[in-house]
Symmetry: C2
Subunit: 302 residues, 2 copies
């Protein structure tokens, strides 16, 4: 896609968008969600590196004993792992949660070939994720190091057009694309949950959703509660880490308070996963169950 | 200020910032605000063009009859208007609310001279606004047309350093700088209330606050409630307009629903102004009082 042509399309589309704002304006004024705080369960998920154990099956055994409901794996090479993962999860109380990235290229690239590389690699991962019953695949529109990138507002328009196509593809495979806001050191383009949610609203495709990561939110958001309330119905996944060193929740002491965010998840009647994406300072056999206990305690308090 | 030097400072400052996250992480997890919904009053404010009338005194008479609590004026040439405005407000139940922009240059300019122009012109307006008892002066870090501008994340660091200086200056003059997020057609750099609030938090200076404008929020936010909750204690001003054409609230019919946002303002115990910044489709003598009645009705419902 030619950038000059895109620029032209953008101007026309945005002008049209600004004129026909009726439905948008209405969807902006969401009614207050019905609080159903006490009936919402905390569905914890681990990445495949989180639990102690030397094999996937050992890790899954450990997770089951801890009552962990979901498994998140990387998207790189996922097509070749579908059978292995299906076998490993068979008969267990653990389901596939998110597929974490693994794509190449990026959607806000100036260069069409790099955008296409992202579209193609994302579709391959979405297809595999769909086979595994995953809630969605995590996608970052552009990292700081990925240059040259389109600037705003053109980047937004080009992104939305591609996301409509990916959302249709994801829906056909019973999964979704999950946009992840990162902190400013990693990605200038998408940093706030409200912004990711607004992209989802503008894409207007059930196959495009978003994510909130407590680690990145520590830097970019002032309020975990406000951020998740803005995420609203578009919020499909949450990443969890300690708030000073991106380690096991609790390893950073008092800073590891998630109650304000959990309160929003409960008010939103959030049905998806809260998934660990973090390192570990201490012994996994001690820090992992302590983190799980801490989060369950904070969920109760929220 | 040299850009290369800034780049160096930025890298050191951000590395230090990421290491010393204790207080930041704690302030991110705000405790739930105490709802005091029924005792919070709606303090409406008009810009000097909002009310019908041919002179400022006629407009102020009209506003007093409608129970309008604040007056917002432009910052351009404000120094020369201090005496006129002081005289006009003397003995009235109307106070100065915000000073709307009026600065030249911009804070995220690549060029040091343009940044300095913004600092100097902003200080002049802040001093005049302070004399008038204004709650603050509205500042936009950079419009789309203001180029060349610094990119993220450097723009953020340069902005914060300048805002610390402006915040100190504003405090000495008993007023504040109010950062205003605009929609993507006007300003790529700052579009979300949560982002403006996070800048305020990082600046950590009581003289730097932020603003939410229902017009811009219609495009950039998914939830008025979530946006204002993220604004939290940094929110010092709100702009009001209809949601399709930026006219008098109510002139765009069903789209003009502000209840979700008002609910957040009440929960936040918001004590500042909700100020009209909009055109008018009909006769001012009819549309203005109808808009005021609509907003009071929605405030009660919130």
């Amino acid at each position: 896609m030619n950038t000059n042509r895109r620029d032209f399309i953008k101007k026309s589309a945005l002008a049209a968008g600004m004129a026909g704002v009726g439905s948008l304006a209405q969807s902006c004024c969401n009614a207050a969600p019905t609080p159903a705080k006490n009936n919402v369960s905390l569905n914890l998920s681990f990445q495949d590196g989180t639990a102690p154990g030397t094999s996937l099956n050992e890790k899954l055994d450990y997770m089951e004993k801890l009552g962990i409901a979901g498994l998140e794996v990387g998207g790189g090479g996922l097509t070749k792992r579908v059978n292995e993962l299906q076998q490993a999860l068979k008969g267990r109380n653990i389901k596939m949660s998110a597929i974490c990235a693994g794509f190449s290229g990026w959607l806000i690239a100036e260069n069409e070939a790099q955008r296409k590389e992202c579209m193609d690699s994302t579709k391959e991962i979405l297809a595999a994720g769909g086979e595994l019953g995953s809630t969605g695949m995590i996608l970052v529109p552009g990292f700081n190091g990925q240059q040259p990138s389109l600037q705003m507002p053109q980047a937004r328009e080009v992104l939305i057009e591609q996301l409509i196509e990916l959302g249709d593809f994801a829906q056909k495979h019973n999964t979704s694309v999950m946009l992840e806001p990162l902190n400013r050191e990693e990605a200038w383009y998408l940093r706030l949950v409200a912004d990711a949610a607004a992209i989802c609203r503008d894409v207007n495709n059930p196959g495009v959703t978003c994510l909130g990561d407590f680690w990145h939110m520590t830097w970019e958001e002032t309020s975990d509660y406000g951020a998740f309330m803005s995420g609203g119905k578009y919020l499909r996944h949450v990443h969890m880490a300690s708030r000073k060193r991106r380690s096991m929740p609790g390893e950073d002491g008092e800073a590891d308070n998630y109650i304000d965010g959990f309160r929003a998840l409960k008010e939103l009647n959030y049905q998806y996963y809260v998934s660990f994406e973090c390192g570990c300072q201490g012994k996994r056999e001690e820090s992992v169950p302590a983190a799980v206990a801490l989060l369950r305690e904070q969920w109760e308090k929220a």
